[in-house]
């Protein structure tokens, strides 16, 4: 099943690390919060996406199925 990036908005504090680690899927809005492209994460990027999720300082970045 496709994996997509999701944000736990109640946890996200706009550190912005995710946009550096996964720039092809995540950019930052004018307040520093992640904007997600909504596209499935391709297999070749999955490892880096998981790393980005694990590296989020507040664990607000999620990979969800579907």
């Amino acid at each position: 099943m496709d994996q997509r990036v999701d944000i736990d908005w109640t946890s996200c504090q706009g550190h912005g690390l995710c946009a550096e680690l996964l720039p092809e899927h995540i950019t930052l809005d004018e307040w520093g919060y992640p904007l997600i492209d909504g596209a499935p994460v391709p297999a070749r990027t999955l490892k880096r996406a998981r790393r980005a999720a694990a590296d989020c300082p507040v664990l607000a970045l999620k990979l969800t199925a579907g």
Binding site: I7, D8, W9, E30, Y33, L35, K62
Partner: protein, 404 residues
């Protein structure tokens, strides 16, 4: 407040007649005994009725029940049911009116829902200040005991994940939900949250069957719904009307410039267009209809509501926390006649930035109101840009609670 029934082709189903609260004896005399059947038969009956949720989202009740049942089977956890009477919307009165007049219909429905999903506990969530329900609960010998919970009077308290948090002992704040509350809610149990009006309909469907339920409304949207109707110069009224009722019979269009359909998370519609519409589950939200007289300024009204909505943000999610106050402040400047600069563009951009980016739908509903106001009051916006407001009466119209 008066609870009345317009002459709309049907006798009222939910609200006790003459505005007199129905005690248990009166209730039983009016509706007859409550019969459940077994859970499988109940689910079939509910599916056949086509009942949808009356809390605003119009989600099919049968699908929610089935999701709870399946999650319970999968996880081995006993479901929890919550009757949602936390009517956070300041312009809505239908849930508290229903709870005041026909509490036993709601409590019957709560038992029906508990039976259908095999729940072990049931809760009735009401706003602080609603007093009569506890004694109604105490008069009954319900198979699944009901706890009455009092929620802080806030716009977002009735949001399903906030309610699940509160029942579980935390603050009534929206939470990130994946999986959804119906699969993992109160203390991780599959949790059915249904609006109190939905449960009242359920109590009648269990008694009289799906064909009776479908004898009101349209084939696509069966049944009736409670609406809170705001017409200038009159107290807000709670009425019961079948789906498909022409809107002009509920809100007379004479002398009106627009109608707010669906409350503060709903849409402004020009009066001429509203007169062509009918009552639809998908557009009426939780049933608030408010008429804007032609001598009032829709922009000023929207700005007041937006300020309230921005203050009601739980402040948990960055885009909502940053975007709503900016949108509200920008809209206030649009509501004031004078040069607008880039304000309209700013409002549109910020609306795009908050939409779909929160734990709950507060930003989405707020943006719906903003966009509909920009469209419906477009010519008034142009007048304001030229330094002119066409309204002659600037008295506030829509109810917004005092800031505390």
């Amino acid at each position: 407040m008066t609870a009345t029934h317009l002459d709309l082709h049907m006798p009222p189903r939910l609200l006790a007649p003459a505005g007199t609260p129905a005690d248990l004896a009166t209730h039983e005399q009016r509706y007859g005994p409550l019969s459940y059947g077994d859970p499988a038969a109940l689910l079939t009956t509910i599916a056949a009725s086509g009942l949808t949720g009356r809390g605003g989202a119009a989600f099919p009740v049968h699908r929610k029940l089935t999701a709870v049942v399946e999650a319970a089977r999968r996880t081995g956890r006993t479901p929890v049911v919550v009757a949602n009477g936390a009517e956070g919307e300041p312009a809505s009165r239908k849930d508290r009116t229903l709870l005041a007049l026909s509490p036993h219909l709601v409590l019957d429905g709560l038992q029906v829902a508990a039976r259908a999903v095999g729940a072990g506990e049931a809760h009735l969530a009401v706003e602080e200040g609603v007093s009569s329900v506890a004694s109604a609960v105490a008069h009954r010998g319900d198979p699944v005991p009901v706890q009455v919970l009092r929620l802080p009077k806030r716009f977002l308290s009735g949001q399903a994940s906030a309610l699940a948090q509160f029942v579980g002992g935390a603050a009534a704040l929206p939470a990130y939900q994946d999986p959804p509350v119906r699969e993992r809610g109160v203390r991780r149990a599959p949790t059915l949250v249904q609006n109190v009006e939905t449960l009242a309909h359920l109590a009648l469907i269990a008694r009289y069957g799906p064909d009776w339920f479908r004898s009101a409304g349209t084939p696509g949207q069966p049944g009736s719904a409670l609406c809170t109707v705001h017409v200038p110069g009159r107290q807000p009224r709670v009425i019961e009307a079948p789906f498909g009722t022409p809107l002009h019979r509920v809100v007379p269009p004479h002398g009106m410039s627009a109608v707010l359909l669906g409350g503060y998370h709903g849409s402004w519609i020009p009066a001429a267009e509203a007169a062509q519409l009918s009552l639809e589950a998908t557009t009426m939200g939780a049933g608030v209809l408010a008429a804007l007289p032609a001598d009032r300024c829709g922009l000023a009204e929207t700005a007041r509501v937006l300020r309230y909505l921005a203050l009601q943000s739980a402040g948990q999610c960055g885009p909502c926390l940053n975007g709503l106050p900016r949108i509200a402040a920008a809209f206030q400047s649009l509501a004031t006649p004078g040069p607008q600069g880039s304000t309209r563009t700013d409002v549109s951009r910020w609306s795009g930035l908050v939409e779909g980016r929160g734990a709950c739908h507060h930003p989405d509903g707020t943006v719906r109101l903003v966009r509909s106001a920009l469209t419906t009051f477009a010519s008034e916006l142009d007048a304001h840009a030229r330094g002119l407001c066409t309204a002659t009466d600037r008295t506030p119209l829509l109810p917004v609670p005092q800031e505390t």
